[in-house]
Structures are given as structure tokens and as C-alpha cells.
């Protein structure tokens, strides 16, 4: 538990932190963090090995222990553990972005091995779907909500760039560093982060503060933070680090094939409605001592991604937690106060953050740690009528599937569409084809995208419901003559019971209850002709795909 002690000591010695920080900067100047903008797979120290260290299991237990203390103090009994089917579906959606295949469900249910859930987590993290899902999640996370659809091509490039990095489990600090230090040009993708924030220092700063420090500083742009101790000056001090990053020769709104970013030696920010220049200053830290040859933003990145920057690691952990649990351990780090006594959740965050740093910012290990907790395995059903405070994490919070999860899960069940084939054949002249984005998926996601907000909220409208009931995506998946799944289970050697079971496994990733089975078998066996039966299968399929159960990760 040595690292825990370090954490406590660090909290009490802020002055020492600064010294460590400066030292860290000196060392990090030569670290691969700054060099890692190249595409080829690196094999050096920046790539984490996914070894199953005993430490992460201990950390998972520690999280459960702390949560149990909080629950006990609040007099709340946690929900029982989710059953295997529920857990498989949950972990697949969270870590891979898609519902499990029928065969995976059957195998998992049959598996008698005591460590099968931990093994599943390892399998999912090693799957090719994991980096894809992480890239999608990150792309949605770092670009402004409702980002301009005309930048689809750049967004696809960003997705690809991110995916490459998640696939090799690049250290989190290096990932953030290489995103923020991109120069664009031939490196397609990450420059979109700057571009979609107009390369405006205050916009990039507000976004970076929220993403990587967990601090919502937008309101400090115009005035001091109303609730927490963040001054307007502090915000502009951060923005000043981005004041010298420019995109030459790009008229606003014009997109070139290669969007370049350069660091120049002039450019300042001023306090709004004043002529006062604000020098670069690390949030809650010192002013940049002297301008040296390193660009301002690279100096910021050194500070930001330092292992001693506890905002950085805590923000990462809090986000990862909310990805799995639907809600962060804390709402924001705005009010982080080291002198006050920590709440249970702050304590958990703190220890997880230290663990994350000690693991050399190993994201996969972080996922493994969180997903192996008992808390992550809790059922979303709660005991009794009492709805417990969600921040106790005594029951799993259901999350609506994202548009991407919904589409990809549909497509598991769909035939290869003609449109998709045509688009694949279109050749290199087609930009979408070059970047492997299915135009139907883009359109589906555009029409289904909810407003940004909590992952647990369901905020679709009737148009989205109509689209799922009557739209072409659903029709294609459920059409009796086209559906791959319906074709397969229509084979004469299947009984109606087997057909119903297959439909449930494919959609809800579980077997039907006896009552449900009877209901659906009745509907199917009432058919008088083969065509009728196919239609009844299609209707059953439709009902399951449109069910509330299917629409959620619960």
C-alpha cells in the first residue's frame, strides 16, 4: 500500500509538488510523450503491456470496500449481482460497443469456470471492437456536440487516429499529449480537435480544462467561477498557453486536405473588454517562468500530463467511471479542496487515480480494475421500492444505448446492405469509402443523436421512436425475406421454441422466461402457412428490437 501513503503525502505538501513538477518537466522533455505523433507501432516504453498484475484485483476489492462503507453509512443495501446474461450484455456494450453474438451468449452461459467474468473482461479488452468503441466514444467526447456534419471526413480520420492508439493501449498521458501537440498536416485527424474549436485559445482551453482537468471553466471565461474558487484570470492564464498556436493559410470554414497547426512566437490573450494581457499560468500553479524555445502548448502539456498533476489522473478516472457506471464518482473537480475531508467517493477517486498513475497511465488496466469490481456487476434492479441515491452505486444505473451502439447492434442482425456494398465498391475516389464510414450509419447517428448530457438520461423524441418503429434500418433488419437471422432460424429442423430462444438471445442476450417463451411460441405457431410463420418471426423480432429492454444497457 506504499502508493497510498504517497498519495496522502502529496496532498499535504503542495510546495514540494511544484519542485517535483519542474523536475518532471525536465525529464519529460526527453520522454516519448512529445515524440509520439508518428503512426508506426511503437514498441518502446510508451506501450503498456497488459499483464494481469495482482494489484488491479486488490484495487477492485478496495473500491468495493469503500463503496460498502458509504452504503452502510447511508443504510442502503446494495442490489444483488446481475446474472450472467445481463453482465455479458453490459460488459460487451460498455467495452466493445455492441451486443454479444448469440454464440457468445450461449458459450458464456454454459461456461462453468469461476473466473469467467474476469476472463470475459480480458477477452473484451483484447477484442478489435474495443479500440473501435473507445475511438468512437472519444471522438464524441472531444468534439463539440453536434459538430458540423460537413467535417465528417476529418471526424473519420480522427476516429482512425484514435483507434490506432487505443489498439496498442498507448499510455493515457501520451495519448493526450499527442492530441494536444498535433501539428496536423499529414497527420489527419487530431487537428480537428483544434479546428472544431476554431483554434481559439479560450475555446480550446475551456474544452481541455473540462476533458483533461475535469474542471468546467467555461463560465470563468467571462467572470469568476460562481461556485468554486476559479478566477477569470486563471481561465485566461490557461488560455494563454494556446495563444501561439495558429493555423496558417486556412480561411475560417475552409477545409484543406491537410490542416496545419504551427506554433509561432507571438500571440497573447487579453482579459475580455480590456487591454490587459494575461500571461500563461498553470491552473492552480505558477506562471510560466520564462519563454524558452519550447512552445507554450508543449510546456502546458508537460505540466498537464505530469504524474503529479492530480487533476489530470482524477479527471481520467472519473470519466472512465462514468463510462461504466453512467455517472462519475464526483460531478466535477471544480471544487477539489485538499484541505477538506474527503467524501467516500472522493476517496475512491483519489485512490483509483493514484493506482492509474502507478500503472503508468494504463487505460486497459483501469478498465480491468473498474469492470472487475462487484459494483460493476450489480443488477440494475434495486431491492424494495426505495430508489437509492445514485452516487452510492448500490445498483447499476441503466444507460440508453448510444446511436452507434444501437446501429452496430442492429447491423449484427442485418444482412450486408446493398448500399453498403455499393459504397465499398465505389473505390478510392469516394472519401467516405477511404475512411471506412458507412453512410447509412452516419445518417442513422445524425438522426438519433441526443443532446449532450448524462449517459443515463433518455432524451429521444417521437421522431426517433418512429424511425425505430418504421424506418428503413429496422425494416431492413426485420424484413422476413432479407433478415439473415430470420432466414437462419426459419430452417425446418428448428422447433418454434428454439426459434424464440434464438430471437431472444440475438436481441436481449438472454433466454426468454417460460411465460415469454409461451407468448412468442403462440404467436409463431398460430401461423397457417410458411409465409405467415416468417411474418410472425419478423413481428417477434420487431417487438424485441423495439423493446425498452433492448434500448438500454441495464
Amino acid at each position: 500500500m506504499g502508493w497510498l501513503i504517497t498519495a496522502h503525502r502529496a496532498r499535504s505538501c503542495r510546495k514540494h509538488l511544484l519542485a517535483a513538477l519542474l523536475l518532471g518537466m525536465a525529464i519529460a522533455c526527453h520522454a516519448p510523450a512529445l515524440a509520439d505523433t508518428s503512426e508506426p507501432l511503437a514498441t518502446g516504453a510508451d506501450v503498456n503491456r497488459s499483464e494481469a498484475e495482482p494489484r488491479h484485483a486488490a484495487m477492485s476489492r478496495r473500491v468495493d470496500e469503500l463503496l460498502a462503507q458509504g452504503q452502510a453509512a447511508a443504510g442502503v443495501t446494495p442490489s444483488s449481482l446481475a446474472d450472467d446474461a445481463e453482465f455479458l450484455r453490459r460488459a460487451s456494450l460498455d467495452l466493445k460497443g455492441v451486443v454479444p453474438r448469440t454464440s457468445e451468449v450461449r458459450e458464456f452461459l454454459a461456461d462453468q469456470h469461476p473466473t469467467k467474468r474476469a476472463d470475459l473482461i480480458d477477452r473484451l479488452l483484447a477484442s478489435s471492437g474495443h479500440p473501435t468503441h473507445m475511438a468512437t466514444t472519444w471522438r464524441n467526447r472531444i468534439l463539440p456536440a453536434g459538430a458540423d456534419p460537413s467535417r465528417q471526413r476529418e471526424a473519420a480520420a480522427l476516429q482512425k487516429w484514435l483507434r490506432t492508439r487505443f489498439a496498442r493501449n498507448l499510455r493515457y498521458d501520451n495519448l493526450v499529449g499527442s492530441l494536444l501537440l498535433t501539428n496536423g498536416g499529414d497527420e489527419l485527424g487530431p487537428a480537428l480537435y483544434y479546428q472544431s474549436h476554431d483554434v481559439a485559445p479560450e475555446k480550446v482551453a475551456a474544452s481541455a480544462a473540462e476533458l483533461f482537468l475535469g474542471v468546467k471553466l467555461q463560465c470563468a471565461q467571462c467572470h469568476d467561477h460562481p461556485f468554486a474558487n476559479w478566477s477569470q484570470r486563471e481561465f485566461w492564464g490557461l488560455a494563454a498557453f494556446f495563444a501561439r498556436t495558429k493555423s496558417p493559410g486556412n480561411a475560417p470554414g475552409m477545409m484543406q486536405a491537410s490542416y496545419k497547426l504551427v506554433d509561432v512566437d507571438r500571440g497573447e490573450v487579453k482579459l475580455p473588454e480590456s487591454e490587459e494581457i494575461v500571461p500563461p499560468k498553470y491552473p492552480r500553479g505558477d506562471e510560466l517562468s520564462a519563454e524558452d524555445s519550447a512552445s507554450r502548448r508543449s510546456q502546458l502539456v508537460l505540466w498537464l500530463t505530469s504524474r503529479d498533476n492530480r487533476y489530470f489522473s482524477r479527471a481520467a478516472v472519473n470519466w472512465a467511471w462514468s463510462h461504466l457506471f453512467g455517472k462519475g464518482l464526483v460531478a466535477t473537480l471544480d471544487e477539489l479542496d485538499d484541505s477538506a475531508e474527503m467524501t467516500t467517493n472522493e476517496q475512491i477517486l483519489d485512490e483509483l487515480a493514484e493506482h492509474f498513475v502507478a500503472s503508468k497511465f494504463d487505460l486497459q488496466q483501469l478498465w480491468r480494475t473498474l469492470a472487475n469490481t462487484q459494483a460493476y456487476q450489480r443488477s440494475s434492479r434495486f431491492a424494495g421500492d426505495q430508489r437509492q441515491p445514485p452516487e452510492l452505486f448500490a445498483a447499476m444505473l441503466p444507460k440508453p444505448l448510444t446511436p452507434e451502439q444501437l446501429y452496430d447492434s442492429f447491423m449484427r442482425l442485418a444482412p450486408p446492405s446493398e448500399t453498403t456494398n455499393a459504397w465499398n465498391r465505389a473505390g478510392a475516389s469516394n472519401m467516405a469509402a477511404m475512411l471506412d464510414e458507412d453512410p447509412n450509419r452516419i445518417e442513422f447517428v445524425r438522426r438519433m443523436r441526443p443532446p449532450p448530457g448524462e449517459p443515463t438520461e433518455y432524451r429521444a423524441g417521437t421522431l426517433q421512436a418512429l424511425m425505430l418503429m418504421n424506418g428503413q434500418t429496422t425494416s431492413r433488419v426485420t424484413a422476413p425475406q432479407e433478415s439473415r437471422l430470420l432466414g437462419a432460424i426459419d430452417a425446418p429442423y428448428f422447433s418454434d421454441v428454439e426459434r424464440v430462444d434464438a430471437l431472444f438471445l440475438a436481441t436481449l442476450s438472454r433466454l426468454p422466461s417460460a411465460e415469454e417463451r409461451a407468448l412468442f411460441v403462440d404467436a409463431i405457431s398460430a401461423a397457417e402457412s410458411e409465409a405467415d410463420r416468417r411474418q410472425a418471426l419478423s413481428d417477434s423480432f420487431w417487438a424485441l428490437l423495439n423493446s425498452t429492454e433492448f434500448a438500454f444497457n441495464h
Binding site: P144, A145, G146, A147, D148, P149, S150, S196, H197, D198, A200, S207, Q218, C219, G253, S380, L397, P398, P400, T419, P439, E443, R447, M448, R449, P450, P451, P452, G453, T456, Y458, R459, A460, G461, T462, L463, Q464, A465, L466, M467, M469, N470, G471, T474, S475, S513, E516, L519, A523, Q535, D539, S540, W542, A543, S547, T548, E549, A551, F552, H554
Partner: protein, 446 residues
């Protein structure tokens, strides 16, 4: 236990499924709705946006320059309002001039279709970090707060969204505030705009009809299975978001009820009425707008100029004559019928495009993009009609009196509809953003 729904007819079944769905019962399930219900429950207001895709020429419509070289071929004629004069090709509208206010001094800074469209429809300069909603989505949200209709809050007929997709969308409000698209243009790749039948343009609301190949009886079987699954699931899962999902589906099923879908069935109108509106997408869209307003839909948009129809860089007069005739039939008849039905006092109509066109006529007999001094029109409810506001120079090249910014137009529209322009929506969960940032123009408000 499930009722034997298959004994009921479809209409009854949907009513059964939608029972208790509307009104206050669902407010507690849907936080967004609850917030809306808190809004002022005054009389229902409606807004109809007539969007002129491509940028309409002011010089040949509402700000003519007779006697000047820039004036062009059309004659200026008197309207019902002494001193207010329109183009000769807008005779029906001239009859309604006392309900129309022409803003002749609009000035904007974007002369590109994409950027201009974004600016005019959102009131915000393009390409910012915030994805602003179009004013249509914001107003539909605000006006829809008290709507009890099973119909969508915002129906848009045949918009040319491709030119500037973000300008037509709900931005940070989220996809649930998107328009329900009629005609299908821009709805999905490969879907064509409404096919013109021999006599009238056919309008169809996306996804409201059952998918092809699925009959009514089959749809009923589906809903029956669905409902059985839902009841079982909700019996032991009580998260608010589950209930919201279920409620939303029932509302959508409600919309599919025949009498609700009938709102979109223009064949229920006399042919003589349909002819008066004009046979094209715009005319039929205006008729649809009237039917939807009658049924309580708060916001309807109808586009004229499929693609960029008003982008008359060449052959301006021939094209604009044709467009004007279509405009006059559709909009003029809409004014007449809304007025006859006493709906015009509650319905504010906006006519605008992304910018105006150069007063100077180019070598190809066309007019080019011109954001410096152009016109838009506000009409009907809340608007002090029978006036032209602002003035351009004799050659039409610059604003000489009372320059108006786009934010002021949008704020005036809000005010006319009884929606406070400074009503705020939260972007990214926490940043309050006003619906319109300009100042309402008092002289234009009734």
C-alpha cells in the same frame, strides 16, 4: 394482464396503448417536458417559416426600384396599404398587405450559401464551437411546451438541408427537437424529394407510415407482442429512463393513429382548394401548413426553391416570375385561409432566405449574392402590418434608414409569438444561451 387487443380496431388499440400518455401524467416521467409545462400556458401560437432557398431577390419582390437601372423588368404595383408597393407578380399578397410588414433594411455579413444560411437560421456566425439550434427548433421547443397535439412540434416541408445541414438542425438541443421532415428531401441518402403526381405534389411524412410490406393487421400483432414485453419488463424495472422510453413509443404509436396521420392527407381537401395553393411542393406545403396549424402544430416550415431555386445568377426575371407565381399562390392562399379561419392572429409568418441579391443586374441577366441590404417579411399574428420598415438607397445598394441585424429580426419574431427572445436554453448542460440575441423592433410589433 394484456387486453385482447386484436379484437379492437387499430384506432382503438392505439388509443388503448396511448392511454394516459399526454398531459401532466407524463411530465413527471420526462424532465424536459416538466420544464416546458412550467412555461406560460397562454393561448396557442403558431409560426410558419417560408424559407426561400438560394437567396431571394428583394429588388423584384418587396423592395422594388422603379425608374432605376437596377429596377429590372417587373412593374411595381399598389397594395391594399397605401404607399406600400410590391411586385406585380404578387397580386394575392398585395391583398393582404395590411397584415404584412416588410423589413427593407436587413444587413448581414455572410454572402456564401452555407454560411449565410447558418447565420440567418441560427442568428449566430457560422463555425463556432457551439452547435446552435436553428431558430425554428428553438421556437418549436418553446411554443410546443403547451402543445397537446399528438403531432410533432415542428414539421418541415422539403427543406434543402444539404447546403448547410447544421442550420436546419436542433444543435445542442438534441435530435428530439429535430423537424419532422415531409417530402423526404435530405432525410436519407438516396431518397428523392416528393414525387410529383400528375396533378399535385405528393407529401409524405418520414416514418409515419408503416414500412412497405407491413399491413395493419401485422402492425397490430407487433404492438401486441411489444406491449406484452413492455409490461413484463416495466413490472420489475422502474428506472425513470425506462418509463420515458416506453412513454415515448406510446406517443409515437399515437401519432400513427389514422386521424392523426390524416393531417398529412391532402387528398381530403377539395381539388379546387388544392389548385388555389398551387400544385407544387411549396403550394401543397402551404396547404399542409394550414392543416397542421388547425391541428395545433406550433411550427411549420415550407421551402420554396428546391435546391437553390432563388439563386438566380442568370436569367433572373424568367425564374423569379415563376417563383413569384408559386409564392403568391401558396402564401397568398395561406393568408386568405388562415384569416378566414381566424387563425392568422395566432400565426406569425416569416418570409426569408439566406441573403438578398445584387440590385445590379449582371451580364447574364442575373443577380448575385448580396447580404448588404436586403429584405424579409413578417406577417400575421403579433405583427403590425401594412408597413415597410427601413429604407434602401434609390439604387438599392445600401441601407439608408434603420439598419436591422438578423438577431433583431429573430428577436422580433420571438416577441411576436409571445416567446421572450432572451429565454435561455442550456448548451452542453450548463451554458445558458438565449434563443435570439437581438432586440425586438417595437415598431414592427402589434
Amino acid at each position: 394482464m394484456l387486453q385482447p387487443l386484436w379484437h379492437l380496431d387499430r384506432r382503438e388499440m392505439f388509443r388503448h396503448l396511448g392511454l394516459g400518455l399526454m398531459g401532466s401524467t407524463c411530465a413527471s416521467w420526462l424532465p424536459a417536458l416538466a420544464e416546458q409545462v412550467a412555461a406560460d400556458p397562454r393561448r396557442k401560437r403558431h409560426c410558419i417559416l417560408l424559407w426561400m432557398s438560394g437567396g431571394p431577390t428583394q429588388t423584384d419582390t418587396f423592395d422594388m426600384k422603379p425608374g432605376h437601372n437596377n429596377g429590372g423588368e417587373f412593374k411595381e404595383v399598389a397594395t391594399r396599404t397605401p404607399g406600400l408597393r410590391f411586385s406585380e407578380h404578387l397580386p394575392t399578397l398585395a391583398e393582404h398587405a395590411e397584415r404584412m410588414a416588410v423589413i427593407r433594411s436587413l444587413t448581414t455579413k455572410e454572402g456564401d450559401h452555407e454560411r449565410g444560411t447558418y447565420l440567418v437560421r441560427t442568428g449566430q456566425p457560422p463555425m463556432g464551437a457551439v452547435a446552435y439550434p436553428s431558430i425554428a427548433c428553438s421556437l418549436a421547443k418553446a411554443l410546443g411546451a403547451t402543445a397537446e397535439s399528438a403531432l410533432p412540434n415542428y414539421v418541415s416541408v422539403a427543406p434543402t438541408q444539404q447546403i448547410s445541414p447544421a442550420a436546419f438542425g436542433p444543435g445542442f438541443l438534441g435530435a428530439s427537437y429535430s423537424p419532422a421532415l415531409v417530402g423526404g428531401a435530405g432525410a436519407a441518402p438516396g431518397v428523392l424529394p416528393g414525387v410529383v403526381s400528375p396533378k399535385f405534389a405528393a407529401l409524405k411524412l418520414d416514418d409515419l407510415e408503416l414500412p412497405s410490406g407491413v399491413g395493419e393487421a401485422q402492425a397490430m400483432r407487433r404492438m401486441k407482442l411489444w406491449n406484452a414485453m413492455e409490461q413484463r419488463f416495466l413490472d420489475d424495472h422502474s428506472a425513470a429512463s425506462f418509463i420515458a422510453h416506453n412513454a415515448l413509443y406510446r406517443k409515437a404509436a399515437d401519432m400513427m393513429r389514422p386521424e392523426v396521420r390524416a393531417a398529412f392527407d391532402l387528398s381530403q381537401e377539395e381539388d379546387s382548394v388544392r389548385e388555389k395553393y398551387g400544385p407544387g411542393m411549396f403550394g401543397q406545403g402551404c396547404l399542409l401548413a394550414r392543416r397542421l396549424v388547425e391541428r395545433g402544430v406550433p411550427f411549420v416550415e415550407v421551402s420554396l426553391g428546391a435546391g437553390l431555386g432563388w439563386d438566380t445568377h442568370a436569367d433572373n426575371f424568367k425564374l423569379v416570375k415563376k417563383l413569384s407565381e408559386e409564392l403568391d399562390a401558396g402564401w397568398g392562399t395561406l393568408m386568405t385561409e388562415l384569416s378566414e379561419r381566424r387563425l392568422l392572429d395566432d400565426t406569425t409568418i416569416v418570409w426569408m432566405g439566406e441573403f438578398g441579391r445584387t440590385p445590379v443586374i449582371n451580364a447574364m441577366g442575373g443577380r448575385d449574392h448580396f447580404p448588404n441590404a436586403w429584405s424579409c417579411v413578417l406577417a400575421g399574428g403579433g405583427i403590425k402590418g401594412g408597413q415597410a420598415y427601413g429604407r434602401t438607397s434609390d439604387d438599392g445598394m445600401k441601407v439608408e434608414e434603420k439598419p436591422v441585424a438578423i438577431g433583431d429580426v429573430l428577436a422580433t419574431l420571438c416577441a411576436a409569438l409571445g416567446v421572450p427572445p432572451d429565454a435561455e436554453n442550456l448548451a452542453m448542460g450548463e451554458r445558458p444561451i438565449k434563443i435570439a440575441e437581438g432586440t425586438p423592433i417595437a415598431d414592427l410589433l402589434a
